[in-house]
């Protein structure tokens, strides 16, 4: 059902997966952005604190937006600016059209403004006979090529130097050599004449400051300064969410933006413009500020999408998004590309334009890199949900989102099921019926689940002794597939004198988020929090093995349950298994014997990046004698829960394309094996690298001894 609405997306994606040079260029751009960010972050005492500060600033200012909007308009008017509040794109365009008509303007120059792209500004003005020039190089290339931006910060990153030369040569009927300096000479000379003769300059605003009616413009090329100074008319087109109260609020946004985008400390130019100064004494000049709503007020009232208004358009989220890295902004985007492009597109351009939401594999990393700590993955889940409500769910998604609920049956017939799954024909049939790709090795179910073992051992595990008590959150994998992991863990806890109980619980339900079924996700969250909260109140810690489950308890449940007191209490007492063990080692309650040797590559699962980046697992393994080195691209391995199990382009093909860069890192480095805490990354890495993949608890089994 609804499959046909996926078809254009799948077709575009397939086409992109075939264009390796483009995705290589994009990958390089993304890596450059991330590496730059990582470097400059070091100059901050604690960049995560800084991010948190940015979030608080945005929260407060969006809360007060009504008042700030009034204040900003009043202050800007005091400075002689004309201020217009535009309901939507056509409204903004007709206001601006009027201004340029009255002034008998002819030539309009623009500095980069995503807001102007949002309302597709250029077309109506070109149609009306005005000359419109984008002056940011990347944007100009896109304008001449008549394409939409491939990347937010580097719009033309997919074009090579000769392609750009060719493009300009053709458009301007001029022979331009295919080298960078020839192109730059052409660009500077051509646009310089344009700058000097333009009548109207249109800019965006990165921030607007209410207390003094000023706007902030951040650019690198210097075009923004020329656009706002030479023409008689300066028109600012800005989204209403850009307003902050004070200069003190603006500064962290300016810094956070540049650091997150490219690792610059600030952009080369930061112009804070208040009113319209004269030019060499000529003061017959005007400033118009057009403040665009276009769905923003509605987003502000929507508890799911309000956070999208915290976006400062740094582009960092697209620098870490694995499916974006192989699909690019033309597929993974409409006008706004990348992760944050999904909620923005759905809200300002309409749900139907946001089909690319289904490319998101819910790795969660965009949230971790965002300078405003925006929970983008959860907003995306909401967009998927809205789309599913409208067009129906794919069958394979319906099966996979709730596959965990079949586990009890499958485990009870484990030998038969596992035998069936090894039969090629059966897998082919299953592929046809369910959409699960036949080439994916599926983990085998155990008939003797962890819970069976636990029931026999419950009384012994209750003994405790140290005064510490803990609840185990088992989740799917450690219960049905590899019970030994959970047994190793609780035995080690028992030896350390920790009382362990395993109350009734459901598996994490995270797949519901991946496939956009937030109602089911919320039900599971509510159930688990209800079961766990009484223990937390009673002084128990919660220990969780699977990173995705830990992440659900800590991050997703509070969000799904509106930050209820119970959900926050559960979140605050949830520990990663290896984090808990490491603490016991530090307290001298467990000793680690040197039982391991060899050289392992460590893979950090995405949800682990929202936790401790695997640092406790690594510490324990090293303590046990293993050489461990992290190998990473910084992005998702491509498996993304069950996403990579699916047949076809929007499944295993995308998944393996994403994995390629990471597989290389493991294959090329003479490693004995791979360690990772995630059960699904394991499937992907074994298939992609041919190396064996172990869970740290499996390796540590015998090494954890009572003190």
């Amino acid at each position: 059902m609804g499959l046909e609405t996926y078809e254009p997306l799948i077709k575009q994606l397939k086409n992109m997966l075939g264009q390796k040079e483009r995705s290589a260029a994009l990958y390089a751009a993304m890596k450059r952005g991330r590496d730059g960010r990582a470097r400059t972050m070091q100059e901050f005492a604690d960049f995560n604190e800084y991010r948190h500060g940015i979030r608080k600033i945005k929260e407060r200012n969006i809360d007060n937006l009504d008042k700030l909007l009034e204040r900003f308009m009043e202050e800007a008017r005091k400075r002689g600016a004309h201020v217009y509040l535009a309901r939507d794109g056509p409204d903004a365009i007709s206001y601006i059209m009027n201004v340029v008509k009255q002034k008998q303007a002819r030539l309009i120059i623009k500095s980069k403004s995503l807001t102007s792209e949002e309302i597709e500004f250029n077309e109506p003005f070109e149609k009306a006979g005005y000359e419109v020039y984008e002056t940011d190089l990347g944007e100009w290339i896109m304008q001449v090529a008549r394409e939409k931006p491939f990347h937010l910060v580097f719009p033309a990153v997919h074009k090579t130097t000769p392609e750009v030369a060719e493009l300009f040569s053709r458009a301007y009927q001029k022979a331009i050599e295919g080298d960078l300096s020839a192109i730059m000479k052409f660009v500077r000379e051509t646009l310089r004449r344009i700058f000097l003769s333009a009548d109207v300059g249109v800019s965006g605003a990165n921030v607007a400051i209410a207390e003094n009616g000023a706007i902030v413009l951040e650019t690198n090329e210097g075009n923004g300064r020329l656009v706002t100074s030479i023409p008689k008319i300066h028109i600012v087109l800005m989204g209403m969410e850009k307003i902050v109260e004070r200069v003190e609020d603006a500064i962290p946004l300016i810094r956070g933006h540049a650091v997150s985008a490219t690792g610059q400390r600030t952009t080369t130019y930061v112009s804070i413009i208040a009113g319209r100064p004269p030019l060499a004494g000529d003061d017959g000049r005007e400033m118009h500020v057009v403040i665009l709503d276009n769905g923003r007020s509605r987003m502000r009232e929507d508890s799911w999408f309000r956070e999208a208004l915290y976006c400062i358009r740094c582009g960092a989220c697209m620098n870490i998004c694995a499916p974006y890295s192989v699909s690019g902004g033309h597929v993974f985007g409409y006008i706004y590309p990348g992760p944050i492009g999904i909620p923005w597109t759905a809200n300002v351009h309409g749900l139907d334009k946001a089909k690319f939401a289904h490319l998101c594999i819910s790795c969660g990393l965009c949230k971790e890199i965002c300078p405003a700590e925006i929970d983008i993955p959860m907003m995306i889940a909401r967009v998927k949900e809205l789309d599913v409500e409208k067009h129906g769910q794919l069958k394979v998604n319906r099966i996979l989102e709730s596959y965990e609920s079949y586990a009890p049956i499958l485990s009870s017939i484990a030998p038969l099921w596992n035998w069936l799954m090894r039969r090629v024909l059966i897998r082919a049939l299953m592929e046809k019926l369910t959409g699960i790709d036949r080439s994916r090795p599926l983990p085998e179910f155990k008939r003797n689940t962890f819970m069976k073992w636990y029931r026999k051992n419950a009384a012994r595990l209750r003994a405790g002794g140290s005064g510490k008590k803990a609840v185990l959150f088992v989740d799917f994998f450690a219960n049905y597939i590899e019970p030994q992991l959970a047994i190793t863990l609780v035995e080690a806890l028992a030896r350390a004198g920790v009382e362990v109980v395993v109350p009734e619980q459901k598996t994490s339900g995270y797949p519901y988020i991946l496939y956009g079924d937030l109602k089911e996700a919320e039900k599971v969250a509510r159930y688990n929090v209800e079961k766990l909260y009484p223990y937390v109140k009673d002084g128990y810690d919660i220990i969780s093995i699977e990173p995705t489950a830990t992440y659900s308890l800590r991050e997703s449940y509070p969000k799904l349950l509106n930050n209820s007191e119970e959900s926050l209490a559960v979140a605050s007492k949830t520990y990663e298994a290896l984090e808990y063990l490491w603490a016991l080692v530090q307290q001298g309650k467990i000793v680690v014997e040197k039982t391991l040797s060899g050289r392992a590559g460590f893979h950090i699962p995405c949800h682990e990046r929202g936790l401790s980046h695997g640092k406790y697992a690594i510490a324990l393994l090293r303590e046990a004698g293993l050489e461990v080195e992290i190998r990473e691209t910084g992005m998702c391995c491509g498996m993304a829960g069950t996403f990579g199990l699916k047949k076809g382009t929007l499944g295993i093909e995308l998944s393996l394309a994403i994995g390629e860069q990471l597989f290389k890192q493991f294959k090329d480095n003479n490693l004995d094996f791979i360690v990772t805490e995630s059960s699904v990354c394991k499937i992907q890495l074994e298939q992609g690298t041919g190396l064996q993949v172990f869970h740290p608890l499996k390796l540590l089994g015998d090494a954890l001894k009572a003190a």
Binding site: T135, V247, R265
Partner: protein, 188 residues
């Protein structure tokens, strides 16, 4: 502020501004700064210079130093000001202050001709008084606020080196629409 502290702030500014492809020089006095300026511009074969509005005494000193080595000073006036400034090979400004941790100079201007002096020519040279270098961007908030509230229209421009782009194949190119070189001479 302690001398030592100021010295380390200056060092930080210099390091970061230079990392961002700007150039920094130091001079004891205004006279020394002015002659350093003319040397730098001579070396770049500059013949026509635009000077932004600034303290008259400083402006006079700069003008003397540049004309004494044969350079022409252009005077932007009236409707053609931007063309005049565009004809200069270098623009000279006096920074209002500078911020060490972001490696940027700041110019407070009330006339856009002054902004064009540091935007249009290929070379931008900027004098900066030693005592006007502050430590962090955050600490410039009050300076920004004071500047903006002191007149009806005002622009505060932070400049962190020459203009740049990486828009084609991510290759860094300096001097796109703005200056190719930015020289800062610290004095006083």
């Amino acid at each position: 502020m302690l001398m030592k502290e100021l010295e380390s702030i200056i060092r930080l500014f210099k390091d970061r501004f230079e990392q961002q492809a700007g150039r920094v020089y130091e001079a004891e006095t205004l006279d020394e700064a002015a002659s350093k300026l003319s040397n730098i511009l001579l070396e770049q074969n500059v013949r026509r210079v635009a000077i932004a509005g600034m303290d008259e005494q400083v402006r006079e000193r700069i003008r003397e130093s540049l004309t004494s080595v044969g350079m022409e000073i252009v005077e932007p006036r009236g409707g053609n000001a931007h063309e005049t400034i565009n004809s200069a090979e270098a623009g000279v400004t006096l920074a209002s202050f500078a911020v060490a941790d972001i490696g940027a100079i700041a110019e407070i201007t009330n006339d856009d001709a002054d902004r064009l002096v540091s935007s249009l020519p290929r070379i931008h040279a900027c004098l900066l008084q030693r005592q006007n270098i502050i430590d962090t961007f955050e600490n410039s908030a009050q300076l920004i606020r004071d500047a903006l509230s002191s007149s009806r229209s005002c622009v505060v421009s932070f400049i962190g080196g020459p203009s740049r782009t990486g828009d084609i194949e991510l290759k860094l190119v300096l001097g796109v629409h703005g200056p190719h070189q930015v020289h800062v001479i610290i004095f006083g």
